[in-house]
């Protein structure tokens, strides 16, 4: 591949052009084109680069020095299989989002500067791509935080709303805590190997002592977990994603979380290679955190009535599933079961590719609904399927995919994860077997709740009657937005129907040989072998064959219906819904998002701890019998916010407040500090041997 080395600089140049070009134009229309077209072009180039790296298996190496005196302090890039795979994810989603943003930025043409949105989006995607390409600690952290900075500026894009600012600050501070943890992890590795470059980390992976391995792993899991949104560190996610413009939140939810996963994969599989049963606890920790955050994410998503917050919570769930898969592969790897480790890794990576695609699609759908109806609150939508048919279709495709239902890609990756869970019996340690069994309960509960959530999300916002005037007057989204969504939608279908496309990409990215997991002949089934107490069997899934069978059954059904036709000619009449004889009911009697999720809220009372408050208003204070109005508000409390974050924050603030009091304002105390400092240092120096 001779043109390979030129591709990376070309991509960078195109993105920077996309960032600077809009500054030259005044009219919003041309600004949008000037920024999003180069973005789409360079994302396509990224897809080409990553695909060629994956196919050819060769790696790309590039570097330019920053500080000569210290050799490993340089901007160095190394695109290998793993990096290329995540670059592929970023490229695919950012291509469709860039096309989508051409239309979507129209919504902001009046109030906000399109230039800022365009150039920041270009910078954001560029920094994400470069993060997956870096090869030493300094450049990794540089582009990692450049990504956080660009996304922060995009989160506070509509900075009139006070809530956006607060969520922006929480987001950037939490990311910075994550970066601090990641820096600590890398520097501990630096202490072991003596150089900052990832090559030396990789080569020294074998000789690390188990304590260092554990320390680096825990720091990396916490650091990258904060960025990916694992549960204890997820509180910024449901606030930051909804406040960003929808095309940005599509990128953030779909792709930025994957960069966190990329970091986690790079550290666990690249630097801290689990090789002995002693490292199995790391895998178990990931399995437990993953399944726990999957459950918490979906529970909060199922009771949410703001469509973007629900989708953001749902990202927490999917990230949980990905980390669950990763944890399983680490457990298998530490027991030497290479084929099962490859299966679990395939499941997790396949799911991260799927999640990027269908979450991007769903956020784009939510964005066009938000643009047309002006609100993200589902209780004020409804009946949009008649006004916005194409967006509704794409949102339905996205919902079926994310709920893990057969024809589409969500099902395939969930099938692989379930097979990995089911084959955990081969792990020779009973404690691990049982705890993986318990984790699979949370995982299965997540699947059930996920399909329930998306019935609510799609049903309430698109089906039945419009619940507000804005929903009634909604019109279909512009062509370019539909084009963006078509790209993502078709990706969902292709990845679902032809799984070999993704499995071969993952296999070549992570370098496990073809035969290990299952046969990769095109249209061949995904097979997983079983051998428990003397019974050997092979369970397999071949989506193309399933499609052919369903087609045949459909044809047979149609034939049956036409052959056994009705005795007489039947007519389909349209009439108003049966309203139980009460006369014409208006839309207030319809089910809303909150009422639909009420049974789930009561079933999981102990988790949500629903808190209802009743406010009564009277005509006159003296007589409390005649009420003017009664309003009931019931909301679920954010468990982590109340019990983990606010007490911790209060404690830190209390400590800082005591230290702050030092500046008393009196000159006597200042001089006292100097006296105390001199005497104590003197004693320290004199008494020391």
């Amino acid at each position: 591949m001779n043109f390979l080395p030129m591709l990376l600089p070309a991509i960078v140049a195109l993105f920077i052009a996309g960032a600077l070009l809009p500054l030259a134009f005044r009219d919003p229309r041309r600004e949008a084109v000037a920024s999003f077209v180069p973005a789409a072009a360079s994302s396509l180039l990224t897809v080409a680069l990553s695909a060629s790296v994956l196919l050819s298996g060769s790696a790309l190496r590039l570097s330019s020095p920053v500080v000569e005196a210290i050799p490993s302090m340089s901007l160095s890039f190394y695109v290998d299989g793993i990096g290329a795979f995540f670059m592929l994810i970023i490229g695919l989603v950012s291509t469709s989002v860039s096309i989508y943003s051409l239309g979507y930025s129209g919504a902001y043409s009046g109030k906000h500067s399109i230039r800022a949105l365009g150039s920041l989006l270009n910078l954001f995607v560029l920094s994400m791509i470069l993060v997956t390409a870096t090869n030493n600690v300094f450049s990794f952290l540089l582009f990692w935080e450049l990504m956080s900075l660009a996304s922060f500026l995009l989160v506070v894009y509509e900075h009139e709303k006070e809530t956006n600012l607060r969520s922006g600050i929480t987001y950037l501070v939490m990311t910075h805590i994550g970066t601090a943890l990641i820096t600590a992890a890398f520097l501990v590795l630096y202490f072991q190997t003596g150089s900052l470059s990832f090559d030396s980390f990789r080569s020294a992976a074998g000789q690390l002592s188990s304590f260092t391995k554990g320390l680096v792993f825990v720091l990396a899991l916490a650091g990258f977990g904060t960025k990916a949104g694992l549960v204890p560190m997820h509180i910024w996610l449901p606030e930051a994603h909804p406040s960003a413009p929808s095309n940005v939140s599509a990128l953030m939810s779909g792709v930025m979380l994957k960069v966190g996963i990329y970091g986690l994969v790079r550290v666990t599989l690249g630097f801290v290679v689990p090789s002995s049963p002693g490292d199995a606890w790391m895998g178990l920790l990931m399995v437990v955190t993953g399944s726990f955050s999957a459950l918490v994410g979906v529970l909060y998503a199922s009771v949410e009535h703001d469509i973007k917050r629900a989708l953001a919570y749902h990202s927490v769930e999917n990230i949980g599933i990905i980390v669950l898969g990763l944890g399983l592969s680490v457990v298998f790897m530490s027991f030497g079961l290479q084929s099962l480790a490859a299966l679990a890794l395939l499941a997790s990576m396949y799911h991260s590719l799927n999640h990027a695609v269908f979450k991007g699609l769903l956020f784009m759908g939510a964005g066009s609904v938000l643009m047309r109806t002006g609100t993200a609150d589902m209780n004020r939508m409804g009946g949009l399927v008649k006004k916005m048919p194409w967006t509704a279709l794409f949102f339905l495709v996205g919902s079926i995919a994310i709920a893990g239902l057969p024809p589409l890609n969500g099902f395939v990756s969930e099938w692989l994860t379930m097979q990995a869970l089911l084959s955990s019996y081969q792990v020779p340690n009973v404690v691990l077997q049982l705890s993986i069994g318990f984790a699979s309960i949370a995982f299965a509960l997540t699947l059930g709740l996920a399909s329930a959530t998306f019935v609510k999300l799609f049903g309430i916002s698109f089906l039945s009657r419009p619940r507000s005037k804005a929903a009634e007057e909604a019109i279909e989204a512009p062509k370019s937005m539909l084009a963006g969504m078509t790209l993502a939608g078709s990706l969902c279908v292709v990845l679902g129907v032809l799984p070999f496309v993704a499995t071969s990409a993952v296999a070549s990215a992570f370098g496990f040989d073809i035969g290990l997991v299952s046969s990769y002949a095109p249209f061949g089934p995904l097979t997983v072998g079983y051998a428990a107490n003397g019974l050997r069997s092979v369970s397999s899934l071949s989506m193309p064959q399933v499609l052919v069978i369903t087609g045949a059954v459909g044809a047979a059904l149609l034939g049956f219906v036409t052959v056994v036709g009705p005795g007489r000619k039947t007519v389909t009449r349209r009439y108003t819904t049966w309203e139980g004889g009460f006369g014409a009911l208006d839309e207030r009697t319809e089910y809303t998002a909150t009422s639909l999720s009420q049974p789930i809220r009561s079933a999981f009372r102990s988790f949500f701890r629903p808190h209802t408050s009743v406010k009564r208003e009277y005509y006159s204070d003296s007589n409390h019998l005649i009420k003017r109005s009664v309003s009931v508000t019931s909301e679920t409390r954010e468990v982590f916010e109340d019990h983990l974050y606010s007490p911790a924050l209060r404690a830190v603030v209390a400590v800082l407040d005591r230290v702050r009091r030092l500046q008393t304002g009196r000159i006597n105390s200042y001089l006292l500090y100097i006296m105390v400092a001199t005497i104590s240092l003197l004693l320290l120096v004199v008494l020391q041997p």
Partner: protein, 524 residues
Amino acid sequence: MALWSTILADLTAGASPSAWSELILTVLLTPAVALAAVTLTHRKRPAEIITVASVVLVVLQTFGLVAGVISKGQFSALGGFLYLDAFGALVLIPIAGVGFVAALYSVSYMGRQYERGVVDDRHIVRYYQGFNCFVLTMLLVPLANNMGLMWVAIEATTLVSVFMIMLYTNQGPMEAAWKYLIVATVGLSLALLGIVLFTYSNTAVSPSAVASGSGMDWTSMSADAKLLDPGIVKIAFVFVLVGLGTKAGLAPMHTWLPDAHGEAPTPVSALLSGVLLNCAIYGVLRFYIVASGTLGAALPSELMIILGLLSMGIAAASIFFQKDMKRMLAYSSVEHMGIVSLAVGFGGFIGLFAAMLHIVNHAVAKPLMFFASGTVSQRYETKVMTEIKGVVKTMPVTGAFLLVGGLAIAGMPPFNIFLSEFLVLTSGFGTGQFLAGSLMILLLVVVFAGFLRHLVPMVFGSPKGPGRAVTADSRPGEDGAGKLAILPMAILVALVIVLGFYIPQPLQTLIRDAVQVFGQGAPP
């Protein structure tokens, strides 16, 4: 990089050794002449022009000196009385650079104050007199070989800056000046104790120094550092560390800094924070070299790490709750001086390289923040941060600079401060100081959170504020601050961004030579 070395070669080829010593003298003379000229003309317009001209001259001569040091190593003037080596040249650059940028900014800032009647004609002239005198005394510090002369120069900077803080005669600056004077004088007398002890142990060791009167010269001290008596040097280093540490703003002796930098006029506080602290920490490091020569690097580094962590801790706590913008920036200077002393404490080639780089980076980023906040508080007519909102809307250019500067000071990666902070952390973990390293990361996060808490609501949000004409409908293009205020800030922003990932070749060689002066780490 070949380009740079060719320029350096032909620049230094022609100059003979004596030419460099004349350059040292002329660099000192320029501000003195400017001071005299400003007192003679005694009017606003000429004072401004003279000051800017003298500062431009100083910048050119400094570049000449730096070129000389890179090619020659070190040279002296007035028979060894004045002396310049790589470390001195490194501290010289911020003095000249920030002096130039501050001069430009003060023309627009004081001009605006003059128009608003806050300051009358007499004040302006006294301001420029003080400004030139301030530049003179600060230039003297790195050039002085004789430690007594350096002490006199630092004492002079204190007196001049007290004089300039008292420019506004209302209560706040008065109180700040008083506290600054008392605490600084106490500190400096402590430092004098230390210096005299060093000289005494030096003269006791080499009788020849007594004869030639060079007992107090740093060159002779560092030459026979091995022979000095460890007992005396231990006490002397403590006295110097606490004494000059007061001037450098290391905690717990930092208490005067927030008041002085908060109440002084903006260009002065930019000079105080950006450059004066460097001169003080330069003095501390000079004696650190001698002390680590005698006692070995263990004990002095331990003291530096303790003071460094203490400064970062107290600064982090105070930044988190601060209401006044300038006081917050002052505390951030305390934090960054703590980082420099921590870097030296960690030691090794990377640690010292990081310390030198951080001195330059901080001197670039801090004035940018002071200028941006000065312009903003001038327009909003308040320094209380909670009252300022939506700066990006009313003053788009200054708002952008404020955001970039704020994020840079807080250590956000794409900018230069992150580069040196990352190097400090690397040296920390590299030399096995895990506790200090992780404490530093923790405190950096607290400072970042504190900064963001104040900066983001100020820069973004819908504009409202008590100030004149702070309305949302001001045309986005037109920015409140004049051209002369924007120019210095633009230069600094460009430096902050570029230094983030590209350090020019001559600066790298200068820093490497400066690290050799410490005589500790060899490049890895």
